[in-house]
């Protein structure tokens, strides 16, 4: 039987079935003629004409019926040819025939299950040489891949177990092209929401979160943050005049600031990939929330968070997945997250992770607009009572190294209060709850947390406390004006957990647009204080208003362009006067809070006052 015979398609289907069977059996015996022709047909893929397509389809169908004759060793080349086919290269006829063959192979013999599953998972991504042929091809391929996976799992019930491992192993590494990573991630999420979701989905989701951390670690802030920036950062609260999307008012300052950050991030491929990947996950979480299954997904995310994000060194962006998920369901997920964090702080095992957890908690409670203030009060109460119990029996005096957890807790309490004090005082029930918490006792204890915690936070906190006439704490500190003291550096340790504010504004542009509506910016909070202070004159401390999350574009003074630097310096000058004056400069916009300031500074840098 020569090749010409095959091309003429002179066989009926059942005749071809028999020929294929015989070819397979003969190949085992050593007679490979027809077998080799079969392999050659499978290998053809370039620009197939209709007859060739028909031949390919018929051969695939014939093989589907003959899988019981296929031998994993003797028919190596045939199997290799079939398994290296990519659905993306063919039309729907061939796709259908191929997936039928895969189902048949996988269910006929245990040896082929893993091979078929691997081939299907590789088909999540288009082959490298594939030119983007548009959405329709993608839909055709992926629909078939997923339905085939389901069909195989109906026949081979242990498929999800094997698939878990394969999905994790075949995940593209972070240096691959963005579209490949994105399409693989889409497929993982599709598996998660599919029938095998319970089994394969959570592994896939965890693998995605791990990938986010990998990207996060790749993006280093050394390019934008210079070591000695803090010298210039005093007294700067850069009211970022970043306009909301609809506002068309342009300001030269905004462009430069925004441009600076965007220039860095847009040149950084990892940042772009991370941005797109996070947005993909955000959209998926939104659809889960609409489908009512956010809580199950959230539990997986929370476990992954505790395992990798919390323990990673100062994760920059990945934690915003949790923030967004919480914002979609504040009552369940929002509270679950906070409770998990405080449990780790109160009764965790590893001290570094406990400090990290309380930093996350503080930043979360401060920044999440959607958390009811009563819940914030409840969390505060737990933090305070934990610190109180700790220091009750301590005879020691100030010792930053020995009582790290205590100082971390105190700093967290003060940080949350800097943001939420006003809201708490407005409600009488919460005000009295606050006053009963024994915060004074904790902060005035001879362990001297006020002298150890980050100075900028302490000063801001004391200023607020004095303004609102609550607690009985010293008005100012002795070491006024310094950015930070040696002591906070000690308690923060090598990791500098004293300056870790993980939910400081997200610097990835696309992500930020999702986070923004649920986010509390410092200026929003501060302006409420200024409302009350209209009559008051400026105080020395006005200049030191900046909060740790403050918007200090570190890169500015050592910015990438001289012109940028000049503009920034001038705007900095404007800012170094009192807020009231600066609000004049900016047309009183701050007062009217029409602009939402955004913070630019990465939280890993030392905060300014």
């Amino acid at each position: 039987m020569g090749l010409s015979n095959m091309d003429e398609l002179s066989f009926t289907d059942s005749e071809l079935d028999n020929h294929v069977r015989n070819a397979l059996k003969d190949a085992i015996q050593g007679d490979c003629d027809f077998y080799n022709q079969l392999v050659a047909v499978i290998h053809r893929k370039e620009a197939l004409v209709t007859e060739e397509v028909a031949l390919l389809v018929t051969c695939l169908k014939a093989m589907t019926g003959a899988v019981s004759c296929v031998h994993i060793v003797h028919h190596r080349s045939l199997l290799a040819a079939i398994l290296s086919m990519s659905l993306w290269d063919y039309g729907t006829d061939v796709m259908d025939a191929l997936v039928e063959l895969l189902i048949s192979l996988a269910s006929s013999n245990g040896d082929y299950v893993d091979l078929c599953l691997e081939m299907l998972v590789m088909n999540f991504m288009p082959p490298p040489a594939h030119s983007a042929r548009g959405l329709s091809r993608k839909i055709q391929v992926l629909d078939r891949v997923h339905s085939t996976l389901e069909d195989i799992s109906n026949l081979v019930p242990l498929t999800p177990l094997r698939l878990q491992k394969i999905v994790r192993d075949k995940m593209p590494h972070i240096y691959m092209k963005e579209h490949v990573i994105m399409i693989y991630a889409e497929n993982i999420l599709r598996l998660e929401s599919g029938v095998m979701g319970e089994l394969v989905g959570s592994t896939g989701l965890v693998a995605l979160m791990d990938k986010l951390i990998e990207f996060d670690v790749e993006i280093s802030w050394e390019d934008i943050v210079q070591d000695d920036f803090h010298k210039d950062m005093f007294d700067i609260e850069l009211e970022d005049l970043e306009n909301p999307v609809d506002d068309i008012v342009q300001d030269g300052d905004e462009l430069t600031r925004d441009a600076l950050i965007q220039r860095f991030l847009s040149s950084n491929l990892s940042a772009q990939k991370l941005d797109s990947l996070m947005v993909l996950i955000f959209e998926y979480l939104k659809s889960c929330s609409e489908g009512g299954r956010l809580v199950q997904v959230f539990e997986t995310l929370l476990q992954s968070f505790q395992k990798t994000t919390l323990t990673a060194y100062k994760s920059k962006f990945a934690q915003f997945i949790m923030f967004y998920a919480c914002s979609l369901d504040p009552d369940n997920c929002g509270k679950m997250f906070a409770n998990a964090l405080i449990d780790i702080y109160v009764s965790g095992l590893n001290p570094v992770w406990r400090m990290s957890a309380v930093a996350y908690l503080a930043s979360y409670l401060a920044r999440a607009k959607f958390i009811p203030i009563s819940f914030v009060a409840a969390m505060l109460e737990r933090m305070v009572s934990c610190c109180f119990l700790y220091c009750e029996n301590q005879d020691d005096n100030i010792n930053p190294k020995a009582h790290k957890l205590f100082y971390a807790g105190c700093q967290a309490i003060m940080y949350v209060l800097c943001f939420r004090l006003k809201q708490l005082l407005v409600i009488p029930r919460l005000k009295s709850q606050l006053l009963l918490m024994r915060i004074d006792d904790v902060l005035k204890h001879h362990l001297s947390p006020l002298q150890v915690c980050l100075l900028s936070i302490v000063e801001e906190f004391l200023r607020l406390v004095k303004e609102n006439g609550i607690f009985s704490l010293p008005e100012t500190l002795v070491e006024h004006g310094l950015l930070e003291s040696e002591r906070s550096r000690i308690f923060g340790g090598i990791e500098r957990l004293d300056m870790f504010f993980p939910f400081d504004p997200c610097l990835l542009r696309k992500c930020d647009s999702y986070i923004r509506p649920n986010y509390v910016y410092w200026s929003m909070v501060r302006s409420t204080y200024y409302e009350d202070e209209e009559a008051e004159g400026t105080s020395d401390e006005d200049v030191a208003e900046g909060d740790n999350g403050m918007n200090i574009p570190d890169g500015r003074s050592h910015g990438e362009g001289d012109s940028d630097g000049d503009e920034i310096d001038s705007s900095l000058d404007k800012m170094s006067i009192t807020p009231r004056d600066s609000s004049h400069k900016f047309g009183g916009r701050m007062r009217r809070f029409t602009q939402m300031p955004s913070k630019i500074r990465p939280s890993t840098s030392p905060e300014s006052l």
């Binding site: 019926g65 019981s68 048949s104 269910s107 006929s108 245990g110 109906n154 026949l155």
Partner: protein, 223 residues
């Protein structure tokens, strides 16, 4: 059903020191890692376990980190299909060349067309695929029905069974149960070789320890 056996095992589970405050959870999770995998020591796939911990004392084993070993007795349910055992499973797919079934919800079984006796013919009725017996019209194998088949081989890694419907006591379980007299008597139309094979199988399964050669010889002489 053949292939399922219960056994009692004396086990020692070694736990990491961090699990010292919740050993029972750790033991259960260790045991659950055995599930649905073939275990050579036990000689089967562990399907279920029922541990009973004998004492509160555990021996600390020195090593890189000191594990402690908890002794326990566990009742295990094992699945170990051997060739020629008769199993039952639910049919999930029928094709002109094969029948696919799932046994106990986790093990996939396939019967290739070479192993389906000629009695069964593949038909498509009303869009549905079905295998019908040529001799007994009511004997059908449909998707969703329970299939009784003999085991040819068992792939221990993926827990995949290769089965056969050659023997007369295999086929649709419901029909077989209702019509035992139809298939249990020796079918006169069957070939001599088939008959011999059947009788030999029956003999070997009943006789323990006796030589198997004897019955074979006797039959040949008689026929």
């Amino acid at each position: 059903m053949a292939g399922l056996e219960e056994c009692e095992a004396n086990l020692v589970v070694y736990l990491h020191p961090s699990k010292a405050n919740c050993p029972s959870d750790a033991i259960l999770s260790e045991l659950s890692s055995l599930l649905f995998t073939y275990n050579e020591t036990f000689g089967g796939v562990v399907l279920a376990y029922d541990p009973s911990i004998r004492s509160n004392l555990a021996k600390i084993v020195p090593g890189t980190f000191p594990c402690f070993g908890v002794q326990l007795k566990a009742k295990l349910l094992l699945f170990n299909p051997k060739p020629d055992m008769v199993l039952e499973g639910e049919v999930v797919k029928l094709t002109p060349n094969s029948i696919h079934a799932v046994v106990l919800g986790f093990s996939s079984a396939v019967i290739a067309d070479d192993d389906i006796r000629d009695e069964f013919k593949h038909k498509v009725k009303g869009g549905e695929e079905v295998y019908v017996s040529r001799t007994h019209r009511k004997h059908k194998i449909k998707v969703g029905a329970i299939l009784r088949f003999t085991v040819k081989s068992f792939d221990e890694e993926i827990l995949h069974i290769s089965g056969s419907l050659l023997a007369p006591h295999t086929g649709g379980a419901r029909w077989l149960d209702k019509n035992t007299d139809e298939w249990s008597r020796v079918d006169s139309t069957a070939t001599k070789r088939d008959t011999d094979k059947l009788l030999i199988n029956v003999d070997t399964s009943m006789k323990n320890g006796e030589q198997i050669e004897k019955p074979k010889k006797r039959r040949r002489e008689q026929s």
